[in-house]
């Protein structure tokens, strides 16, 4: 499969990339790892006239801490995210999730920014992004803005991304130090994409009661979601097998279940409950 003809330019800076996007008159696409974009182009589902390769912009590889947030530069590959010492220390959930994306070859190319802006409904990262109140950092000619992940992703492959702008990074909230986190997924055996992927962060106070809990679910429907009903049910309670099992029954309540040849809505709903229960047990018991 060969994409239709396009032109190719390299950008040396964010400003240059924005200018190149403007020059393309809406026909340009940003190329980083290309592992979401090139398959679409090969199937001719998208036909940009110019690709703007941003992989030479070193500033987009930065990882930096700002207050209670860790900002991961858009160009970090999933592999780099999975082994970066600051990411492993402050937001291990993101490192653990990145480690489970695709396969080694894909993790060597696919990037944080590309994954988020592509907004695949079965992507792994959105679960962690919802749990850690991620903000997508977007730059255009007028400056930088931060957009909350829940307002950024509108639907499958649909985002609020403004024209002629670049995702420069993703900012994650660093969870309290007494919490633990995990990402568990039931993946499609051929594609490796999550049929249901559950990210959870939780911890208990000095009395042994849950004082922080976040659950995010991806893959189950068109968009990832926070399972806030589960969170509300657990908050303030002492964790036990029974308490977690009961709360996990609410795991599918806050999202809409999708359906395809592989998994019915009923099956996805059940997977949400089972994987939420497993994830919470593994960090709270």
């Amino acid at each position: 499969m060969i994409p239709v003809t396009f032109d190719y330019v390299r950008a040396e800076s964010v400003n240059e990339a924005i200018q190149q996007l403007k020059d393309s008159d809406g026909e340009g696409k940003v190329l980083a790892g290309g592992h979401s974009l090139l398959p679409l182009m090969k199937m001719r589902l998208t036909e940009p006239q110019v690709l703007i390769d941003i992989t030479g912009i070193d500033a987009l590889k930065e990882v930096r801490k700002e207050g209670d947030r860790l900002i991961v530069g858009a160009l970090n590959t999933h592999r780099e995210v999975s082994i970066h010492p600051d990411i492993k220390e402050h937001i291990p959930l993101v490192a653990e999730t990145a480690r489970q994306i695709g396969d080694i070859q894909i993790r060597n190319k696919g990037t944080m920014g590309g994954n988020i802006v592509h907004a695949d409904s079965a992507a792994d990262l959105p679960a962690a992004a919802f749990v850690l109140d991620a903000e997508v950092l977007i730059t255009n000619e007028f400056g930088e803005q931060a957009m909350g992940i829940d307002s950024f992703i509108l639907g499958p492959l649909i985002t609020m991304m403004p024209e002629d702008s670049i995702v420069t990074g993703v900012s994650f909230q660093i969870p309290p130090t007494h919490t633990k986190s995990t990402y568990l997924k039931y993946f499609h055996p051929a594609s490796g994409y999550p049929v249901v992927g559950v990210a959870a962060v939780a911890g208990t106070d000095s009395n042994g009661n849950i004082d922080f809990v976040r659950v995010g679910i991806t893959g189950a429907g068109d968009v990832a979601f926070r399972a806030t009903s589960v969170e509300e049910e657990l908050l303030g309670k002492a964790p036990s097998e029974a308490v977690i099992k009961e709360a996990s029954k609410l795991a599918a309540d806050d999202g809409e279940m999708g359906s395809d040849l592989f998994a019915s809505p009923e099956y996805r709903e059940n997977l949400c409950k089972v994987y939420t229960e497993r994830a919470l047990k593994s960090i709270l018991l």
Binding site: M1, I2, P3, V4, T5, F6, D7, Y8, L31, G34, H35, L38, P39, K42, Q49, L51, D53, T55, R79, I83, G102, D103, I104, Q105, I106, N108, K109, A190, S191, G192
Partner: protein
């Protein structure tokens, strides 16, 4: 739309190579059609099977999902860079001796993926090898003989003191771990 061809220059298996290509040309077609390195195969063409796996600047990547222009200036290792029929690389020798292939179509990608694994983890457990092969699919062997072959190759490479990271034909690592 008429698009200017681009010069893409790479060091392929230690040799400087270049060709003028359209931006839409995939790396695997550049390697096969422009450089004549037909050892790298196109399998699924959808970045799942890994038959097209090559090493680019020390990282294993799927060359069916990479543009040739993206690889301009890089060092590439394909199966042709491992050894010759008379002087097999330990990985090739081990695949032969352990019957790590049947039809052989996936084998070039599998061997490059295996070398990518051994570069980072010179002495992997069976479990780690199985995990390291997550990006390649073999429809013949059931993987067991591939795993035996990689275990054998790891032993030979360690015993003979071959440094996969410094070996010219196996590129230069870019990760600092």
């Amino acid at each position: 739309m008429a698009v200017e061809k681009r010069n893409v220059s790479v060091t392929a298996n230690g040799q400087a190579c270049s060709a003028e290509v359209e931006p839409r040309k995939l790396l695997v077609h550049y390697l096969r059609d422009d450089l004549g390195l037909t050892g790298t195969h196109v399998g699924c063409d959808t970045s799942q099977c890994g038959a097209c796996t090559v090493m680019v600047d020390g990282d294993i990547v799927k060359s069916c999902t990479t543009l040739a222009v993206q690889a301009d200036g890089s060092e590439i290792t394909t199966v042709e860079g491992l050894g010759t029929a008379n002087d097999l690389h330990p990985m090739q020798q081990s695949f032969w001796e352990e019957h790590g292939l049947q039809c052989g179509y996936c084998t070039p990608g599998v061997m490059i993926a295996a070398l990518g694994l051994l570069k980072e983890n010179p002495n992997p457990t069976e479990e780690e090898i199985r995990e390291g092969l997550e990006g390649v699919i073999c429809r013949c062997t059931g993987y067991q003989f591939i795993i035996s072959a990689i275990q054998k190759a790891a032993t030979i490479i360690q015993e003979s003191g071959i440094d996969l990271n410094s070996q010219q034909l196996v590129g230069e690592g870019t990760h600092n771990e």
